[in-house]
Amino acid sequence: MSAVPETGARASRPAVVLDDVVFTYPSGVRALDGVDLEVTAGETLGIIGQNGSGKSTLVRHLNGLLRPASGRVLVHGEDVAGRHVAEISRQVGLAFQDPDRQIFAGRVRDEVAFGPRNLGARGIELEAAVAEALGAVGLNGTADLNPYDLGYSRRKLLAIASVLALRTPIVILDEPTTGQDLHGATRVREIVRGLVAEGRTVLAISHDMRFVAETFGRVVVMREGRIILDGTPAEVFSEASWPILASSYLEPPLAARFGAQLALGSTPTEAALVEALSARG
């Protein structure tokens, strides 16, 4: 399944395991309806699906914000049941979809420092974590501003910086490219690539199919609280999968649709499309 080459001993260790996880909101909405998922350490996983298909609910189980009604959630082999969110957050960082539900401090610096300070960082170490995280998202120079003096797209990057500052082995981004311009979206891609290069496990929810196809080694598709497709971008966006994608109102990236129309095989990315067309001559 996984397209990410497995290297070294840590790669074979599952970072996250969901075992038949069911979750129902108090309103009665059954948001997760038996999810099985194993993510290997160092893997990059894109999660796609319709609004309301359970994507955000799923990732909130990974840092203990939500607890399954039944089934098990393991992080690095340990069941999260009975463990406090503060403890899990040493391993799992989650950047929310809506930065305004995450941001609470009056200064950008304090917002980013909050997490690492709670994990025990002080002095130069804390300063370094803050500076590195702000640098990674391109917000250097904003440390003394009020977060609400930043526009929405930069608050979104700030929310990501706060999670990067935790330096967790598992990083989860909920719709990170939303509201970003070209530079912001490019920045998010670089952040993910940087995390991957450091061997960290990255999960991201996205509606941006091109971003998913170009950035992640593995893609899962959710519908009505279940995982209905799981594979590489080439597999998930191949013509054979289109009926399943369509049943979930999803559309492959234009490069994949164009490639299929020209009978080039599965070309989930523009680079793959250009390569296939060049090869055909």
Partner: protein
């Protein structure tokens, strides 16, 4: 001419620099103008100014004129403006009233405040929910919707007002591709059938390629490109201005760079599926 901005300069209260620095823009009734640009180019400010919330509600200093359906925003009372121009904020969480128990009541909030007869309120609410494919959310608690669902409910609450002018700040930012398509189609119908003038900020240029008649590019508070959508979205400088071209434009460029010529038949396919 439903929405007119003439020589608009706007400075937030307490700010030294102008967020908008000389904007001229006209959106005729029944037309859709897309607004693109880098972060902090002034797109959200343009929305607040076009809808009259700046300076009306949030203060600041406005020079030039903004005219919405015949009234100048600085002269109009809040209810006169609200009946002429609906605005959708970028973040639906800041839009929803927080007072309605169900999505249906949320969408009914505006029409009720217009003191419309009950059967017309019902018709407008159900029409708006159906247009966006969210009739199934009618009984849900607005506070417990997913981000994308909340965005659709917020948009439905604006459509139900049937204003002459719609100002939308990234209406599809949290939507899946299907929801994005529905919003595009619904806005197209609102422009064509109700004759609304629509100003829409979007990072997804593919939706503007389908929906917009004109596109303007903002940079540092100024309009730096303006014209027919297809022309502006194919502008070679677009990426330099922080805007991602639509996928079909990107693919054509990538093929040119790689020296691959598209056969005419393939060119037609790309035009067909890319639009």
């Amino acid at each position: 001419m439903t929405l007119v901005l003439e020589g608009v300069r706007y400075r937030y209260a307490g700010a030294r620099a102008s967020a908008l620095d000389g904007v001229d823009l006209v959106v005729e009734a029944g037309r859709v103008t897309g607004v693109v640009g880098a972060n902090d180019a002034g797109k959200s400010t343009l929305c607040l100014v076009a809808a009259g919330l700046a300076p009306g509600v949030i203060g600041g200093h406005l020079a030039g004129r903004v005219v919405v359906a015949g009234v100048e925003t600085t002269q109009a009372r809040p209810h006169e403006l609200a009946q002429r121009c609906g605005i959708l904020f970028q973040n639906p969480a800041t839009q929803l009233s927080g007072t309605a128990a169900t999505a249906w009541e949320e969408v009914a909030f505006g029409p009720r405040n217009l003191a419309l007869p009950l059967d017309e309120v019902v018709e407008r609410v159900e029409g708006a929910l159906a247009a966006l494919g969210i009739s199934g959310l009618a009984d849900r608690d607005p506070g417990r919707l997913s981000g994308g669902e909340a965005q659709l409910v917020a948009l439905a609450s604006i459509l139900a007002l049937r204003p002459a002018c719609l100002v939308l700040d990234e209406p599809t930012s949290q939507l899946d591709p299907h929801g994005t398509r529905l919003v595009g189609e619904a806005l197209g119908r609102v422009a064509r059938e109700l004759g609304a003038a629509i100003l829409v900020v979007e990072h997804k240029t593919a939706i503007l390629a389908r929906l917009a008649n004109e596109v303007v590019v903002l940079a540092a508070g100024r309009v730096v490109r303006a014209g027919p959508a297809a022309e502006v979205l194919d502008d070679a400088q677009l990426e330099g201005l922080g805007v991602e071209p639509p996928p079909s434009v990107r693919i054509r460029r990538a093929l040119r760079v790689a020296g691959v010529a598209l056969p005419a038949a393939a060119e037609d396919v790309l035009t067909g599926i890319g639009a």
